[in-house]
């Protein structure tokens, strides 16, 4: 249709890619989350600076305000020193004290162990964000996964009347049980949403409570370890455990007679690490979800239903199938998070098991903007904060609550990204005023 007069302009237009957008695309995407973190940390620093109990350091006082007179007389250099030590404490807790190299492996291992369930549960939430759903049920799905896997890992040989099963059967069975239990706990709200329109936020919250009660009931009932004083299940069979990567040999007298596996055995305390194969599973899942979302028709369906359900229906995609599938997949991933905690780390299931993992995963998925690759740094950041917090409190007397403040600020700045854009004068891409989608976490 173009005539000669237009032709040159046309060719010029078509050969011009969008260089800046292409090459630094990921940076563009990451800039707001990174600045959100920076801002949150800076505000955290200011909070420490104004509220520290100056001259009483180090202290184990949990009250971050200290006594009023201390607060009043604390000098500015003193405040600066304490503020700095809060963050060095946080860092060395998470990554080791780099003046003492022997502390590094344990610290990093702890951070990775802490991050493992965050990666898996964060992925779980991200999948539903992509489908335009808001899965608040990762907590419950994770508990069900933990229950399912511990049931198989601790009791399966009993069902067959044998003392033990070979690892080649027992370990996959335990993994599968956790994944299926979590998956079913995700399919229920998915089905209710697709067929009856019951909103998944409401149903998943209710299912969280149900999962908690079911766990309580089982742990105090048929699954209780009668010999233990604590409310917990028996230790799982060693053949159902995910191996540690490197550690000292365990003492079977402390673990119900089980000798849990590891890939490498060491005698040095420096290398006695809790890190287990769960992290490998988590990375495999990151790759799998990336592949699914970007390379396969099923992922395309999930994204399309999230972006524009009308268009998805028009294009012949099944909304019901996709919603149920996405919720099932999400539940399975959350279930795997619970499973890896039980058969990789804890070796049994206690009444106080999750401590909000499922809720932190919402924050992680938001921080990563639902990008499966970005889930890794987001989860590591979260894990590092959690790991470092303990050390910080011990070393500087600054309450662990500081970390919660920073985490809350990060979420706030991500959710209200206009604040960050305004502070740092980052222009929104023009045309961004048109909201294309109604989904979360983008």
């Amino acid at each position: 249709m173009a005539n000669e007069q237009q032709a040159p302009a046309e060719t010029k237009k078509t050969t011009e890619p969008q260089p800046s957008k292409r090459r630094f695309g990921w940076l563009n995407e990451a800039i707001v989350p990174l600045l959100a973190i920076l801002t949150a940390v800076l505000i955290g620093a200011v909070i420490v600076f104004v509220s520290i109990p100056g001259n009483k350091l180090p202290t184990f006082d949990l009250n971050i305000y200290g006594s009023r007179s201390d607060w009043f007389f604390s000098t500015i250099p003193e405040r600066l020193r304490v503020t700095l030590s809060a963050f060095t404490g946080l860092f060395s807790g998470a990554f080791g004290d780099w003046t003492k190299p022997s502390t590094i492996p344990v610290a990093i291992s702890n951070t990775l162990v802490e991050s493992t369930p965050y990666i898996l549960a964060g992925l779980a939430v991200a999948v539903t964000f992509k489908a335009g759903l808001f899965n608040v049920g990762a907590e419950g799905q994770l508990l069900m996964g933990a229950l399912g896997s511990v049931a198989v890992a601790a009791f399966m040989p009993q069902w067959f009347g044998v003392a033990s099963l070979p690892a080649i059967i027992h370990l996959p069975a335990a993994l599968l049980a956790g994944v299926i239990a979590g998956g079913l706990w995700g399919i229920i709200p998915g089905y209710l949403r697709a067929k009856t329109g019951a909103h998944e936020v409401i149903t998943t919250i209710m299912l969280n409570y149900i999962a908690l009660q079911v766990m309580d009931y089982l742990i105090n009932g048929v699954m209780k370890d009668k010999s233990a004083t604590l409310q917990r299940t028996p230790f799982i069979h060693e053949n159902a455990a995910l191996p540690r990567i490197i550690s000292k040999a365990t003492d079977p007298s402390l673990t119900g007679g089980q000798a849990y596996p590891r890939l490498f055995t060491t005698t040095s305390s420096t290398w006695d690490l809790r890190i287990h194969m769960g992290i490998v599973l988590a990375f495999l899942m990151v790759g799998f979800i990336w592949w699914l979302m970007n390379r396969t028709p099923k992922g395309f369906e999930i994204k399309t239903v999230g972006e524009n359900p009308e268009a998805a229906r028009y294009a012949g995609m099944s909304i019901t199938g996709t919603v149920v599938g996405a919720m099932g997949l999400s539940g399975a991933l959350a279930g795997l998070a619970g499973t890896s905690q039980v058969i990789g780390l804890e070796y049994n299931l206690k009444a106080v098991f999750s401590s909000g993992l499922g809720f932190d995963s919402l924050a992680i998925a938001l921080l990563a903007k639902s990008n499966p690759i970005a889930i890794v740094p987001a989860a590591l950041f979260w894990g590092a904060l959690r790991t470092g917090a303990g050390a910080m409190q011990v070393n500087t007397g600054i309450s662990i609550n500081l970390i919660q403040i920073i985490q809350a600020l990060v979420i706030m700045f991500i959710a209200a990204d206009q604040i960050v854009r305004w502070i740092y004068r980052i222009k929104q891409a023009e045309g961004g005023k048109i909201t294309f989608n109604r989904s979360w976490g983008k």
């Binding site: 249709m1 173009a2 005539n3 007069q5 237009q6 302009a9 046309e10 237009k13 078509t14 011009e16 890619p17 969008q18 800046s20 957008k21 592949w291 390379r295 396969t296 028709p297 395309f300 399309t304 972006e307 524009n308 009308e310 268009a311 229906r313 028009y314 294009a315 012949g316 995609m317 099944s318 023009e430 045309g431 005023k433 048109i434 294309f436 989608n437």
Partner: protein
């Protein structure tokens, strides 16, 4: 254009670059008080971009804006309104659950102490609506009103803020002919009372009807001015597109074959129990275009959605090539050879956040060659995009550009390209050229006729009577959910069809 009148608005050398597209290229023009200044231009010529700059939504890269002879800095819509410049967007920014008055005063509430002075506010709304002949029910809930009235509310909202310039970006695209005529009357009234209006449309007839002056844009540049009194539609079209446009569809007589689509006795009621489809029966033959004329909202949408499987049917039957497809899932209907151009391009036909490339496989992504084994076959998808972009002349910087950043005509071309290149037996086109420039209309019309000539059955639904009359071989008229008449094209005069559309039944003994 008298030299001694200070222009209400003067624009000098406005330039705006988007990634890969120079949307505005040194645009200059003036707007005089009391005139209706029309802007014409192809899809993607840069009209909306220019208006969004004037209204403070985009920053220009270059250029200046003078209001009443003074240099103006417009950083956001509030600045623009403060300077007396209002805009009515195509997508209205009204709160559906509030009343007309509440919508109009939102953000500028008159107060009596801390309390809203509702009486005085609604008094002012009434005054304004009388002054300009903009009839609105001040206490009605906006969501319950027809589009034409909602648009009046938008205009009143601007007037309430004392603007003396008003931008109307494609205001008639969603209006019935009747509503459009009302709008033109209001526009004339506003101009007569000294307001300056900018009017954007793709319908050349409208421009010649209401405009005092025409500026034509092409590829971001002003390419000429025209006088609506003297310029013909053909001349305007040629100026816009840069070549001669054949405004009349060039087609031979139809050569109808067997029945492809057989619709029998469809009945449907909406949630409130009102009749939407009333015993609808139609046949569409291979090699013919059956046009459905009718004022929008008379059941056309539901009829089409029933055929494509998007609307469940309580009664009636639909057969495609003798096979029953009533209430089958949309994918199975598509796979049996049905192509469908939906009326809501942005909401249904495309995923605006997706690339052109992905949109081009939106309904075939799961089949070979696009999927191989478990995963996508990227080379095939890329090749498909490259080929269709070239064949259908989609104007875009690249195949990875998002569909949402394209102009309306190019978005529609993506849908047409995707739907027409499958193996089809039936083509359903619903409002295929709404909001599209004359060049693209010509292209899409020719494509539809080409499909007909290739032996497809075509069902065309359009609110534009001219479009139906230009393309159809038989014309069915829908009124209140009923087919009130089916005429061969030779007997379908504007008058006869117009009467049927208005619900006036023909007497058996003539008129």
């Amino acid at each position: 254009m008298t030299a001694n009148v200070v222009p209400a608005l003067e624009v000098r050398n406005i330039t705006k670059q988007f990634p890969g597209v120079l949307a505005n290229d040194h645009i200059s023009f003036t707007l005089l008080p009391g005139e209706i200044h029309a802007f014409l231009g192809e899809n993607g010529a840069g009209k909306s971009t220019l208006m969004n700059i004037l209204y403070g939504l985009y920053d220009p890269d270059e250029g200046e804006i003078l209001i009443n002879g003074k240099l103006a800095k417009i950083k956001n819509p509030a600045d623009a309104i403060g300077l007396g410049l209002g805009m009515v967007h195509q997508e209205y920014a009204l709160v559906d659950t509030l009343t007309v008055t509440e919508n109009i005063i939102l953000g500028t509430e008159l107060r009596k102490g801390p309390v809203l002075n509702a009486k005085e506010a609604s008094q002012r709304v009434r005054e304004l609506s009388e002054q300009y002949g903009l009839a609105v029910p001040p206490d009605a809930i906006v969501g319950d009103l027809p589009v034409g009235v909602q648009q009046r509310v938008e205009i009143l909202k601007a007037l309430y803020r004392n603007v003396n310039m008003l931008i109307l970006d494609e205001p008639t695209a969603v209006l019935t002919p009747q509503e459009a005529d009302d709008l033109f009357r209001v526009m004339r009234e506003l101009a007569d009372q000294g307001k300056a209006l900018i009017f954007i449309t793709h319908k050349l007839r409208e421009v010649r009807e209401v405009a005092d002056r025409i500026t034509v844009l092409r590829r971001g540049k002003v390419v000429g001015d025209a006088d609506p009194k003297t310029a013909s539609e053909g001349q305007l079209a040629a100026l816009m597109v840069g070549r001669d446009v054949v405004l009349k569809v060039d087609k031979t007589a139809a050569n109808p074959g067997d029945v492809v689509l057989k619709v029998r006795n469809l009945n449907l009621r909406d949630d409130r129990g009102l009749t939407v489809l009333d015993d609808v029966s139609i046949d569409v033959h291979a090699g013919e275009v059956l046009g459905i004329a009718g004022v929008q909202g008379n059941g056309q949408t539901e009829l089409v959605e029933a055929i494509t499987g998007l609307q469940a049917l309580p009664s009636g039957s639909i057969e495609l090539l003798g096979k029953d497809i009533t209430n089958r899932p949309p994918r199975s209907i598509t796979e049996q050879g049905v192509a469908y151009i939906p009326e809501d391009r942005k909401g249904t036909g495309l995923v605006l956040g997706y690339s052109i490339r992905d949109n081009l496989v939106l309904s075939t992504y799961y089949k070979p060659p696009f999927t191989k084994g478990l995963t996508f076959n990227d080379p095939a998808i890329d090749e498909n995009a490259k080929e269709l972009i070239a064949t259908f002349d989609v104007r875009t910087p690249s195949a990875t550009t998002t569909a949402g950043s394209l102009s309306g005509g190019n978005q529609q071309k993506i849908i047409v390209a995707r739907e027409f290149t499958r193996k089809n037996r039936l083509l359903i086109a619903s409002q295929p050229t709404r909001g599209i420039d004359v060049g693209s209309i010509e292209f899409i019309h020719n494509q539809i006729i080409k499909q007909r000539d290739a032996g497809l059955a075509v069902l065309l639904v359009s609110a534009e009577l001219d479009e139906v009359l230009a393309l159809a071989d038989r014309v069915a008229v829908m009124y209140h959910g009923k087919i009130v008449g089916i005429l061969p094209i030779a007997e379908a005069t504007r008058e006869r069809v117009g009467l049927l559309m208005a619900g006036i039944q023909e007497q058996p003994n003539g008129k």
